[in-house]
C-alpha cells in the first residue's frame, strides 16, 4: 500500500517533469540548449503517460471514487515541488525522475 502510494506520487512528479521539459524554455533552463522537436513530443507524451500511470496507481490504493482526489493533489504537489526545485537545483529536479525505475525494480523484486 505505501509503495503504491509512493509510486503514485513518483509518477505524478515524473509526469509533470515530462510536461515541463517538453517546453522550450524549461528544457533550456536545465540543459542550456534547444530541445529538438522530436524529443519535445516524446517528453510530453511520456509526461502524459506517467500521469495516467499515477492515476492507475491511486485507483489501486483508494478505488476509483477517491483516486481522482489523491491524484489531483499529487499532481499539484509534484508540480509545486518541481517549480521550486528547478531554479535552484535543475539537475536534481530532473534526476528525481530516476527514482521511477528504482521504484519499478523494487516492485519487480520485492
Amino acid at each position: 500500500m505505501m509503495t503504491l502510494i509512493a509510486g503514485g506520487a513518483l509518477f505524478a512528479y515524473a509526469g509533470m517533469l515530462g510536461l515541463c521539459q517538453g517546453l522550450e524554455r524549461h528544457y533550456k533552463q536545465v540543459w542550456q540548449r534547444a530541445c529538438p522537436q522530436s524529443l519535445r513530443v516524446v517528453l510530453r507524451g511520456a509526461g502524459w503517460l506517467a500521469l495516467m500511470i499515477s492515476l492507475l496507481l491511486c485507483a489501486q490504493v483508494w478505488g476509483w471514487a477517491m483516486a481522482p482526489v489523491a491524484w489531483l493533489a499529487m499532481m499539484s504537489l509534484g508540480a509545486m515541488l518541481l517549480v521550486v526545485l528547478l531554479p535552484y537545483w535543475p539537475r536534481l529536479a530532473v534526476g528525481l525522475a530516476g527514482l521511477v525505475p528504482v521504484w519499478g525494480l523494487l516492485q519487480l523484486f520485492a
Partner: protein, 506 residues
C-alpha cells in the same frame, strides 16, 4: 474601478485580496490545522493514555462504568478508541454538548484529564472565527465568496497561465513574489476551487434557505425526514419498564461488518424495555460525510431496527461535496495530502499579501510620498505582519497554553482561548511599534522556536503525539529558514523584501 475589464478585475483582486486576505489567511491556517484536529486534541490532553485495547473490551469497560455510576441516565454516549483518538470517553445527556468522563481503556477507571479546547478550537475557528455560531458562519461564508471571486479574478488577470505554468524566478524581488503567488495558485487551483466551493456547500441551507422555505414551509426537520433521515420514535411507556441490556459487542461487530470502523455508540433509555443502541461509524469510511448516521438496534433483543439511510442523488451529491471538504476519507496518506495542499494555500495567500506591500514599497516608503498614503501603506504592512506571522504565533501559542496553564484552573478552556487571542493581539501591537522587517523576523523566529520546542513537552513514546511534535519541528525549521532569509535579504527594503520567495513556510 478602472476602465477595461481586466483592469477592474485586477482592482477587485488586489483590494479584495488585501482586505479580506488577512482573515482568509486565518481561516486557511486553522482549517489546515483542523485536518489533524483529533491528533492535536490528543497532544493537548497528555493525561490520556496510549493503549492497545480492542474496541470490544473498551466498550465492555465503558458499559460497566456507566452501570455503576449512571444506571438511571436517560442516554449513554460512548466514544470508543480509534486510530486517531485513543481515548475512551463516556457521557450522559446529548452528545456534542461536551462534558463526559475519560476512562482508562485498560482498566475502565475514570481518569482526570485537563480541560482543553484541543484541536477542536481550530476546527471551530475555521468556520466561525470564534464569533457566535450563526454570525460566524455567515461571515466565513461571505469570506469564502470573496475567496472564490479572488480565484476567478486571479485567473482572468493572469494572462499566461499555461505559458508560465512552471515558472518561478527567485531573487528578483517583486517578480519572484508574483511568480510564486501565481505558481502556487495555478498549480493547486483544483484544490483551491474545490475547498472553497465545497466549504460553501456545507452550510448551503443556512446561506440559501429558499428551497426549504418553499417546499417545506421552512421546516428543516420535515426536509431531513423527506431525505429518509427520520429518527425512530421512542416507545414512551416502555422506557419505564426495567429490562436487561443486550450485549453490545456482537452488535458492534455486526455494524463494523456493514459500515467499516466504528467511532462509538449511544444507548437511549438504557436498562429499560425501550432501550435503543445506536452505533455510529467513523467518518471517512467513504467520501460522503456520514455525520449523523447510525445503525439502530433494539437494546434488549439486539435486533436491528433501522439501517443507515441510502441517500438519494441530490443529498448524496451534497454529502460527497461536504466529505471532500472535511477530508475524513482515504486514511492518513489522504489526510497528509490535504494538509500539505492546505499549507501551500496558506503560503499562496500570504505571498499575495506580501506582494501587495512589496509592489508599493518603493512608492510609499520614500519621504516624497503623501503623508496619508504613507500611513495607509504602514497600516497594510502592520496588518500583514500581525495577521500572517502573528496568527501563526497565536496558533502555536495555544498549544503551549494547553500545556502550561495550571491544570486545576477554573474555566481553563476559556483561558486557552484568551491566550490565543492575547498572543495575536500582542503580535499586532508588536508589529505596530517595530519596523516591518524586524517585526517579521522576530515574530517568525519566535514562532519557529515555539514550534520546534513542542517536543520538549515529552510524550514522544506515543505515536500520535510524536507525529504532532515531529510535524511541528519540520514546520518550525521551515519558518526559521524563512525568518533567516528575511533577516539576510538585502538591506534595501524597497522591492526586495525577502529576496527569494517563501518556499514552504507558514
Amino acid at each position: 474601478m478602472k476602465n477595461t475589464f481586466t483592469q477592474s478585475m485586477a482592482w477587485l483582486h488586489t483590494w479584495g485580496g488585501l482586505i479580506f486576505g488577512w482573515l482568509l489567511f486565518a481561516i486557511f491556517v486553522t482549517g489546515t490545522l483542523a485536518v489533524f484536529d483529533k491528533e492535536l486534541n490528543h497532544w493537548m490532553q497528555p493525561e490520556i493514555p496510549t493503549s492497545e485495547v480492542t474496541q470490544a473490551d473498551a466498550a465492555r469497560r465503558a458499559i460497566a462504568y456507566l452501570q455503576t455510576h449512571e444506571p438511571q441516565a436517560g442516554n449513554w454516549g460512548v466514544s470508543l478508541p480509534t486510530d486517531r483518538s485513543p481515548g475512551l470517553r463516556v457521557s450522559t445527556g446529548e452528545r456534542r454538548h461536551g462534558g463526559g468522563v475519560q476512562l482508562d481503556p485498560q482498566t475502565g477507571e475514570a481518569i482526570e484529564v485537563r480541560d482543553s479546547v484541543g484541536g477542536n478550537f481550530f476546527f471551530r475557528f475555521h468556520f466561525t472565527l470564534d464569533l457566535p455560531r450563526n454570525w460566524g458562519i455567515f461571515v466565513v461564508g461571505a469570506l469564502a465568496l470573496v475567496m472564490l471571486a479572488a480565484l476567478v479574478t486571479g485567473i482572468v488577470i493572469h494572462k499566461k497561465i499555461f505559458k508560465e505554468f512552471f515558472t518561478f524566478r527567485p531573487n528578483k524581488g517583486q517578480r519572484s513574489w508574483l511568480d510564486f503567488h501565481n505558481a502556487s495558485a495555478v498549480l493547486l487551483l483544483p484544490f483551491h476551487l474545490m475547498i472553497t466551493y465545497t466549504g460553501l456547500v456545507i452550510f448551503m441551507l443556512i446561506y440559501i434557505p429558499a428551497g426549504v422555505d418553499a417546499l417545506f414551509a421552512g421546516d428543516n426537520r420535515a426536509y431531513f425526514k423527506a431525505q429518509g433521515n427520520a429518527r425512530l420514535e421512542q416507545p414512551r411507556g416502555m422506557a419505564r419498564q426495567p429490562a436487561e441490556l443486550a450485549d453490545v459487542v456482537p452488535l458492534l461487530a455486526q455494524a463494523q461488518a456493514r459500515l467499516g470502523p466504528i467511532a462509538g455508540f449511544n444507548i437511549r433509555n438504557p436498562n429499560t424495555a425501550g432501550a435503543r443502541i445506536e452505533v455510529r461509524p467513523e467518518l471517512g469510511n467513504r467520501i460522503a460525510l456520514s455525520k449523523g448516521q447510525a445503525m439502530v438496534f433494539d437494546g434488549v433483543s439486539g435486533q436491528l431496527l433501522s439501517d443507515v439511510t441510502e441517500w438519494r442523488a441530490a443529498p448524496l451529491t451534497q454529502r460527497v461535496m461536504v466529505g471532500l471538504h472535511f477530508a475524513q476519507f482515504g486514511g492518513y496518506p489522504m489526510r497528509w495530502l490535504y494538509f500539505v495542499c492546505g499549507v501551500i494555500s496558506c503560503v499562496m495567500i500570504a505571498s499575495g499579501l506580501v506582494l501587495f506591500c512589496v509592489k508599493r514599497g518603493r512608492k510609499y516608503a520614500s519621504a516624497s510620498a503623501q503623508l496619508s498614503a504613507r500611513r495607509w501603506y504602514r497600516v497594510a504592512e502592520v496588518c500583514n505582519v500581525g495577521f500572517v506571522a502573528g496568527l501563526l504565533l497565536a496558533c502555536v501559542g495555544l498549544l503551549w497554553a494547553s500545556r502550561l496553564l495550571p491544570v486545576e484552573l477554573v474555566q481553563r478552556e476559556a483561558w486557552e482561548v484568551r491566550a490565543f487571542f492575547g498572543v495575536w493581539l500582542l503580535a499586532l501591537l508588536h508589529a505596530g511599534i517595530r519596523p516591518a522587517r524586524r517585526a517579521w523576523v522576530e515574530q517568525l523566529g519566535l514562532t519557529a522556536l515555539l514550534c520546534m520546542g513542542l517536543g520538549l513537552f515529552g510524550g514522544l513514546e506515543d505515536a500520535l503525539r510524536l507525529g504532532v511534535a515531529a510535524c511541528a519541528l519540520v514546520l518550525g525549521v521551515l519558518l526559521g529558514v524563512v525568518a533567516w532569509r528575511v533577516q539576510n535579504a538585502e538591506p534595501a527594503p524597497l522591492a526586495r523584501k525577502a529576496g527569494r520567495s517563501v518556499e514552504a513556510g507558514a
